[in-house]
């Protein structure tokens, strides 16, 4: 249970530098203040909060928080009690679960000027950026130095190989206006758990694309409801950089469930999602 001072921090430091998922649970109030556990999805937990059952519950909750990329305080009984009736008459152990999830991913299809601008803004927001285009002369590191990787490929092989790594926090932005490329990219993206799928194009391009998608069998309302097409918020953006802001603003608004009017013209709390989490 106990280990030499410094062990836990050193392990945390190593994991953080390697961008590995990790959660640190710290008792911040109640019995055993300062008690800690370090939890990862793969390794045995390090440390203890002072009772085996409390440790078990803390590991369970920490893994869930890590999966969601969230941090926050949970309250338990000293022996891991969680239900209100079990907590009556016991002191409360308040544990801060801090989680470090790997950065969310943004996959951008199409090696165009909009891609460079979107890649830059995505990096500012902390995304790991992948740029994908089948045309070798356009999909170069030199044109997209901000990208974490530039993949020369058609969309389907990339989705087949790595689509399973996309989850709720991740975004797929399809910026090609070429049906040869964007139809398979949309099909590939819909087969993943990506939280945001945006497809660029004018109203006209969008209408034609929807016809082509229907031809290949993408016509279910629940599939189409996931597509943000045409991509972006209605900011009146013109340049690639302005468009990148409109796309990223839409990604944030979709995540928080906001309609994105100006704060001056709305009311209610400025922070938090509309489902009531956050402050």
């Amino acid at each position: 249970m106990s280990q030499p001072a410094g062990t836990l921090y050193q392990r945390l430091r190593t994991l953080l530098r390697a961008e590995q998922p990790v959660a640190l649970v710290t008792v911040v109030a109640g019995p055993g203040v300062g008690g800690k556990m370090l939890i990862t999805p793969t390794d045995a937990p390090l440390g203890s909060l002072g009772h085996p059952e409390l440790d078990r519950i803390a590991v369970r909750d920490a893994l869930a928080e890590l999966e969601a990329g969230r941090s926050g305080v949970r309250h338990y009984g000293p022996e891991g009690q969680t239900t209100p009736e079990d907590l009556v008459g016991t002191p409360t152990v308040s544990a801060f679960i801090e989680s470090w999830a790997p950065p969310p991913q943004m996959w951008i299809f199409g090696a165009v000027d909009f891609t460079a601008a979107l890649g830059k803004v995505a990096k500012v927001l902390g995304y790991r950026v992948t740029v994908c285009d089948a045309r070798e002369i356009f999909a170069t590191r030199r044109r997209f130095p901000m990208a974490d990787e530039v993949v020369v490929s058609w969309p389907s092989p990339l989705f087949e190989r790595r689509g399973h790594t996309l989850g709720q926090r991740d975004a797929v932005c399809i910026l090609t206006h070429d049906p040869k490329f964007d139809v398979p990219a949309v099909q590939g993206a819909l087969a993943t758990g990506a939280g945001y799928i945006g497809v660029m194009g004018s109203r006209k391009t969008h209408a034609k694309r929807m016809e082509r998608l229907a031809e290949v069998g993408v016509d279910q309302p629940e599939q189409l409801a996931r597509l943000m097409s045409p991509i972006g918020l209605d900011l009146g953006a013109r340049t690639p950089e302005e468009t990148a802001i409109s796309i990223c603003a839409e990604i944030i608004a979709r995540r928080t469930g906001r309609l994105a009017p100006s704060l001056r013209d709305s009311s209610g709390p400025i922070h938090g999602t509309l489902d009531g989490t956050g402050g």
Partner: protein, 105 residues
Amino acid sequence: MKELLDDIDRWQAAGSRVAIARVVDIEGSGPREPGAAMAVNDQGEVAGSVSGGCVEGAVVSEALAILAGEAEPRIVTFGYSDDEAFAVGLTCGGTIRLFIEPLDW
């Protein structure tokens, strides 16, 4: 915390003791999310921040008191909405709770 690692390494290599303050909870409008962190060494040097600059000074005093053994690791609350809150407030009117402790784990 990630952005503090290099400073903490440097301080620890020089033999300094270090305290960590982390935002654990916010209410209302708060400038930083839970997990925002700041490190203070026993010379009073600081890395990172936990608000928009509203409470950092008070956090340093508290961290130094903890490193000197004059205070226990604990939750410290800043904000206007809590009667027991520190005199220092957040200009945004929210409340933040920080956990401050020595880095001895």
